[in-house]
């Protein structure tokens, strides 16, 4: 599941959706409006995020409302910890290399 979540956050469009939803729930149409993407394309990204357990959607009449799940914030913390560990190890390796040169 964690792997799915990182893959979901790794896409720029999906990350933008998560960033928007961090400010509060909104409709799929509102998520599509500021982008150049079609509504079906945005719905596809929403489905990936939903499958990764990052958001939930509820259909109210003709509007699909999207809301972040609490898990999304855990995933964001996980992504940051993962990347931080990777780059930290790299910078330490760079330090060892500079000492050897």
């Amino acid at each position: 599941m964690v792997h799915l979540q990182f893959a979901a956050l790794g896409d720029p469009t999906r990350l933008a959706i998560v960033e928007r939803l961090a400010r509060g729930p909104t409709s799929a149409g509102d998520l599509a409006a500021p982008t150049t993407l079609s509504l079906p394309a945005v719905l596809k990204h929403i489905r990936v995020l939903e499958e990764a357990g990052l958001l939930t959607t509820v259909k109210r009449g003709r509007v699909r409302e999207c809301r972040l799940r609490d898990d999304a914030l855990v995933a964001v913390a996980g992504w940051t910890a993962h990347q931080q560990a990777l780059w930290s190890t790299r910078l330490d390796a760079l330090g060892s290399l500079l000492e050897d040169l």
Binding site: P12, E19, A22, V76, T80, Q84, L94, G95, L98
Partner: protein
């Protein structure tokens, strides 16, 4: 959708080496491949650098012994030797892809260099220019392969 980045962090290191040498470690293939994949169970099987604004690097790495399976392609968005390097990094492997923007600042300090790295998850639709640059890299790579095979 402009807002403070959700995915972002900073790292700082001070190295006992002049900025010129730290800069070279990021922008020469020979040096970059010696620190970019520190996991002892993994190795680098390909590393190319095009050291100029709009250039970038391409790394191929993965578990030993093949060192294959993952590609990291970076575009140098800002290239100001030996002070500031901004790179857009795309990492892809088996069922994963990740987009990052890294900003590297080199500050001369007593006895060495302070390196400040900011890493951000990149959101928003990728610009046409980025896509073009990325694909140009791939096409150049393919052309080189074909040239070598011919």
């Amino acid at each position: 959708m402009t807002t403070a980045p959700l995915l972002s962090f900073d790292l700082v290191r001070t190295y006992p080496a002049p900025p010129e040498r730290v800069w070279a470690a990021w922008t020469s293939a020979d040096l970059l491949q010696r620190w970019a994949c520190p996991d002892p169970a993994w190795c680098v099987s390909g590393c190319e650098v095009d050291a100029r604004a709009g250039g970038g690097y391409r790394l191929q790495f993965g578990p030993r012994p093949g060192g294959d399976g993952y590609r990291e392609t970076a575009t140098f968005v800002v290239f100001e030797p030996v002070e500031r390097l901004v790179l857009d990094v795309v990492t892809s492997g088996e069922d994963m892809a990740e987009n990052l923007r890294c900003t590297v600042l080199l500050v001369p300090v007593d006895g060495g260099t302070r390196l400040e790295l900011t890493v951000e998850g990149v959101s928003g639709a990728p610009t046409v220019e980025h896509l073009r640059a990325g694909w140009q890299w791939c096409l150049d790579g393919i052309a080189a392969q074909l040239g070598a095979a011919a």
